[in-house]
């Protein structure tokens, strides 16, 4: 009896759910990476972050489906395009509001969210579009895993390591970390803060572009696709501690596992409810994020 109950819970499907959670975590971690950078450095919330991803997905779709450009050529072009978008967003919207109260910045990027959604609706229509690339499936016995997800997982890991190396090894990366701690005195180091912000925004955009390249393999593109990812990406960044990359990474996997295992043991809906409840509880226990030092 005991053994049977054990097998009922710890079957192969549980393992599959755990691994699928990890893979979903990869997708979420990738999304959180760029947002976290912006959050941590510029201290500005890009409410419209997921919409940048959406534009990137459209770019991929049109290049691959309409113009027949190969996936591997389209990807760097998309990353570049969204990087430019990120820089433009900073230059046109954020920079003039840097000294304004945070709520104004929030509202402004919220406005950009609607602008991008409406732009996509007008320019691309409300149709759901699908890249039509179907990657093979990896099978281990009864367990099967999505290649597309493995790819995003690997990309998230590589992206994370690359960002980490950039942030710690280069002068510009160090300046990006420094500027989040003391904006005013950066000029005394000979640092042009405007330039660093622009670089950071472009980098954040590039990461959104990278996420777009990988998400487009798994999801349909439509003007409102950001709604599926935007909120959860924010929660992850907040849970991990704003600007804390490793915290964000861990938070993404925690969230994904809660969604995946919660969904397996109860209703799928409950998986999400559990994840949000977990978020709220953690906000009380560790309001500054998972890895924040206690003060």
């Amino acid at each position: 009896m005991g053994m049977q109950a054990f097998l009922d819970i710890f079957d192969i499907y549980l393992l599959e759910a755990v691994i699928n959670g990890i893979l979903l975590g990869g997708v979420l971690a990738l999304l959180a990476l760029g947002l976290n950078l912006i959050f941590g450095v510029i201290d500005v919330t890009w409410i419209c972050y997921a919409e940048l991803v959406m534009i990137g997905m459209y770019a991929m779709y049109f290049m691959v489906q309409y113009y027949g450009v190969s996936y591997f050529v389209s990807a760097p072009l998309t990353i570049l395009l969204v990087a430019v978008l990120g820089a433009a967003l900073h230059y046109l919207v954020i920079a003039p509001l840097l000294t304004a109260p945070p709520i104004n910045q929030l509202l402004a990027t919220g406005g950009v969210l609607f602008v991008l959604q409406s732009f996509a609706t007008v320019a691309f229509g409300i149709d759901f579009r699908n890249l039509g690339i179907r990657l093979p499936v990896l099978a281990f016995g009864d367990m099967n895993f999505s290649y597309a997800r493995l790819l995003s997982f690997v990309a998230a890991l590589v992206g994370m390591v690359a960002v980490y190396l950039f942030m710690t090894r280069t002068f510009t990366g160090t300046a990006i970390r420094a500027i989040s701690q003391d904006r005013q005195i950066m000029a005394l180091m000979g640092v042009d803060t405007k330039r660093i912000y622009l670089i950071t925004s472009a980098l954040g955009g590039a990461l959104a572009g990278l996420a777009a390249c990988l998400l487009v393999l798994q999801y349909d593109v439509h003007p409102f696709v950001g709604l599926s990812f935007g909120p959860i990406t924010f929660l992850i960044c907040v849970l991990g501690g704003l600007g804390n990359f490793i915290g964000g990474f861990i938070a993404a996997f925690l969230f994904a596992e809660i969604i995946s295992l919660g969904g397996l043991f109860s209703d799928l809906e409950w998986g999400y409810v559990l994840a949000f409840a977990f978020f709220i509880v953690m906000m009380f226990i560790r309001p500054a994020g998972l890895l924040a030092r206690r003060r």
Partner: protein, 436 residues
């Protein structure tokens, strides 16, 4: 200086107001029905079929506007519900109170038509629902001014179950009690409604329901649901969803190796074959879907002879508006046929027999409707449940059909009276999802 400017402004305003006043009174003298049409032209529902309904509806309204009806001019005012229930309510009220339309028509999503119906009834205005299928709109509400020629959600869920029940032993080689079925649905009003019909149908047929679960249509991941389906090993999956959650579910099902004998869809996302094909490629073949029959597929031999030319006209107009579509979506026909019933049957009677287009005249005319089977482009007849019945306002003669996508075409396979070919059941060996 500033004073003079203000004076000029006031004078201008007065002129403008009196001009509109004149225009209004001039209008009042000419006989006209103003119809407010509400569909989703933006947001996720737009691509899920709402926009296609709008196109079908507009083709019919434009057609009648050319000649007018019984000396009445036809004027349509279109509004976008933006895929949001609150906008649908606000737009409907705005049309009725500010645009002074005589009635509202349309409505795609069940989440919209339930609250809008309640509001319109409260205002004692006339509402004609072309598309939304929620049973909850009428259930025990006793509305007087709300009518729907379209089949209701539970009729959809019952229909697919009935189809499997009648074919279980012959095609799947299983007794009903041994047949494992899973019912999954998006958790909005629409999905819940259909799933209730599924459940009732499964109970009636005596199936073994191994999983019943809802999920949010915007969920970024459904892999846990797929894993549970794998564990439950259903023979037939009854799914109600929109696009893109259908694509996501079936993609993750493929990636995780979910196998089954048949997939039964229930309108909405499953009604748009183009999108299924784009997302799933060849795997879209053999999927079943319960929908009002597509007007392009309905049995024209048993149909009122004045209708086939109308179907042809709608088809040509549609091809002109949206060229190059492989399978004309059933949604266009739904919008067109159900609007046509109102324009060709209810409206003339209201004017002739009840003397106008006020809500009560329209209501009496609707209650008199008695169209036999074969009397609409969708094949079914129209007679509304009368006052005092639990579903008052619902068409008692409507039914959806079960179609199957084969060779990039849709074929009616159930019920027998409309069937064009034999269903392919179970999924042939060698196809992606086949459990054979």
């Amino acid at each position: 200086m500033r004073l003079r400017m203000a004076a000029r402004l006031v004078r201008g305003l007065l002129v403008a107001i009196s001009a509109t006043g004149l225009a209004v009174s001039a209008h009042a003298q000419e006989k006209k029905i103003k119809i407010g049409v509400v569909f989703d032209l933006t947001g996720p529902l737009a691509g899920g079929g709402s926009e296609l309904n709008y196109v079908g509806t507009k083709i019919i309204l434009d057609h009648f506007a050319k000649s007018g009806v019984e000396g009445y001019k036809i004027e349509a005012v279109y509004a976008d519900a933006q895929s949001k229930p609150d906008i649908a309510i606000n737009e409907s009220v705005r049309l009725l109170e500010q645009e002074k339309v005589d009635m509202v028509l349309g409505f795609f999503s069940s989440a919209q038509c339930v609250p809008v119906a309640a509001r319109v009834e409260q205002l004692k205005k006339f509402m004609w629902m072309t598309t939304c299928i929620s049973s909850a709109v009428f259930n025990e509400k006793g509305y007087k001014y709300v009518f729907r020629p379209q089949a209701s959600g539970d009729q959809f869920g019952m229909m697919t179950m009935d189809f499997i029940a009648q074919n279980a032993s012959a095609k799947l080689g299983k007794e009903p009690k041994d047949l494992r079925v899973a019912i999954i649905h998006e958790d909005g009003a629409y999905g819940v409604d259909v799933s209730k019909g599924n459940e009732a149908g499964a109970k009636k047929a005596g199936f073994n329901v191994v999983l019943k679960e809802g999920y949010s249509a915007t969920a970024p991941d459904l892999s846990a649901l797929v894993t549970k389906l794998k564990r439950a090993k259903p023979d037939v999956i009854f799914h109600t969803g929109y696009n893109p959650d259908i694509t996501l579910l079936l993609r993750q099902a493929r990636e995780q190796g979910l196998k089954f004998a048949a997939l039964m869809g229930h309108g909405a996302g499953y009604g748009v074959y183009e999108k299924l094909k784009e997302g799933m490629g060849a795997d879209a073949t053999y999927i079943f879907n319960a929908d009002p029959i597509s007007i392009w597929l309905s049995n024209q031999k048993t149909m009122d002879p004045k209708l086939p030319p109308v179907i042809k006209m709608v088809g040509e107009e549609f091809d002109r508006i949206k060229p190059g579509v492989a399978i004309r979506s059933a949604h266009v026909g739904i919008g067109a046929s159900n609007t046509y019933v109102f324009m060709s049957d209810v409206l003339p009677r209201a004017i002739k027999k009840y003397g106008g287009v006020d809500p009560d005249a329209l209501r009496k005319a609707a209650l008199d409707t008695d169209i036999p089977e074969g009397g609409t482009m969708l094949g079914f007849g129209v007679k509304f449940y009368g006052e005092g019945t639990p579903m008052a306002g619902q068409n008692e003669r409507s039914f959806p059909v079960v179609i199957q996508y084969l060779d990039d075409k849709s074929h009616v396979v159930w019920p027998k009276s409309q069937a064009q070919r034999e269903a392919v059941l179970p999924l042939p060996k060698g196809t992606t999802y086949s459990n054979q």
